[in-house]
Amino acid sequence: MDIEKTIQKVWPKVRRKHLFPQIPLPKVIEGGEEVALEIKSKQLLISNSFFEKLKDVMEGEEIVEAILDHGITHYMYCPWDFHTHLTLYNEAKKVVRKKDLAQRATTCFMDVVADTYCVKGKDTKIPNLYKNLHKTGIHEVLTSLYEKIWGVNLGSRGHDERINRLSRIPYLERKKWEESIKKFTKVIQDILEEELENEQESPQRRPNPLGEHSLDNYSLEEIDRGLREFASAVEDLQEFKETVEDLKEELEEQGYATGGMGRGRGNPIDANLLYYMKLAESYTLPIRKLPIEKMGDLHPHSHMPWEIGKPFADIDIWTSFGKIIPGITQIWKKREGETFGELEGTPDCLIIIDSSGSMINPRERLSYAVLGAACACNAYLKNESRVAIYNFSDALRGNKIILDFNHEKERIYQAICRYFGGGTALDLEDTQYLLSRADNPDIFIITDMQITNLEKLIEFFNQIQNRVTAVHLGHNVHSTRFKEGTEKRKNISLFNVKEKEDNPKIILGKIKEYLSSTSEWG
């Protein structure tokens, strides 16, 4: 039977066995003899050459079933999604420090997990497949490991000490995968290094017979989502940056750019920007766009039964059939009319961000100021408002960025993420200029308040009517002065962030509150 017919025959059984994965019927590719499987997004592609080669030693149906078991388990169990894949890669990278090695270690680990899961929980021919695959280098080690942890003879031996260590890893405990892959990688590190060295000398590489795991396995949507989850999960910016830098080429080839997804190559990926973008996406805010206001006049809304004592004037004669009988007669219930308020949507916003030396450099560590500004930016852009940026350090000496009101997220993020690291002074003429470029925009300022011309800023804020949200990081005399200087103003809300980690939450809560409110600001 040829491979296509075999797949048709085996597929329903395999689907049932794996509890009906939502993936399409596997396809056949000519492929090479060495690699059985490719996974593109959710499509499994089985190599005909591999199938034909192995058919001499294994039943055709067994080959296909085993390959499908392997491929589906990657989809259903490990890694399951791109975020898990990235997390595993990130942990492996911490051990081996090299992209190639980390990728190989991740592939090996995911294979061990997936195949062991299958062997333990399902009726599978995967062991037979391994019995008939080549066993050199790392694959020999892994086959020996399988022999030990599955309890089947696969014709591989040796590596006792290594196998002892590898066999003590709880592969099927998802919660321990991060720790497990580190242990796993440490044990196989020297073999992978040796293989890599040998390949550099003679570029012929023995590929993973059951296929490599790369970004090809995922759709752009899955990648985008994985990056967002990964940004929230990593401990710091550097981890995210390192991983994204490693995958930059592949991401760009897939058509993934900093600003999002698209076809073909976009702008080169800026890992810093991407980090803040993805992180801020986790805090996206629902904002009420057009507040509803009461008009004051009443109109008939719905019916209710008439009771003695209720006004005759409200009786609806048509539905009362001309009768005045309690229970049959109906009166109109009136309701106050509602209309959309005069405020046309959410106003534009000027984000003023301090990037002086006392602030964290957002390209080195997670800056809560940048994150806060990014969240605010998202909130406004999502409501189709425009955002302008005034990023300042020692503005009077030219250390500043002035970005006019626009909708372009990537440009805005670039402006937010720029770091000067010098002194701290605002040029109020700049802010006045920017404010004049939009109709009564909101102002969002985020700083540690150690501004040289703070008094002028306070004076300025006391003159304007725009809604101002001022967020300062840490508590100091300057912030106290700012508070005292602006406390009489109703249009200024000040947030004192004692712990920087709380910053995004607090700002977001308040943005939501004040953007949703109308009466006070209207």
């Binding site: 062997v119 333990k120 066999s167 003590r168 580190k182």
Partner: protein, 232 residues
Amino acid sequence: MKNPFESFHQVGGRKREIPLDKILQSKEETLSKILNGYEHLLKNEAKDLVWLMQYSTVIKAYSIAEKGLEGIEYTAEDIEEFCYALDRSDQIPYLITGPAGVYISALCNYAKEEEITLHLRDLNVKVNLTGYRLPPNKKLIVEGNVGDFTGIGLDGGELIIEGSGKNYTGAGMKRGKIIVRHNLGFNTGHGMTGGEIIVGGRIKGLGKIVGGKIFEREHLVFPNEGVKPFYF
């Protein structure tokens, strides 16, 4: 009340097991026994989580550790697992570097293997007293850094530290060999009577040494013309 689980009456017995399950189960059981022994040691020797490092307390702790280990079957991997379990633990039994070091030494000294390698590079805490009383025909290799009092009372074994040690390394050792790839602290070899300490990096300071040899970057620093044996 109607039985809401009736439809599951035919579900078969326990799920399929593979050797991995047994390996992991036995690993957990062994670790739990080792931890019990350690907890027992702490109960006796560090009731208030305080342990004074004295010669007599070390001897006493070691004999309690020996008793605690009686009848436990374990391998070098179990010892390593124990080190990491203690390091991660934020509950009883806590890692107190002194008793933990004595206990780990006892584990190594009574292990079946003649050569033990402990991969401890990722340990947050530097364990004291590693290699205490390491007997002849035993080789202990530690990948990572260790704390104070490493290899004290070494009794013929070979201790290799693939990292650095701190103060009082090899204090009171009688025979055997300590090889340290990187650096050592003060009072190295204090009171040692025999054996060798070979250090690949620098030694901050030597102790009062009675006998044996100490090498620093392949140079013999004891005995030599500047440093003579000390007589207590």
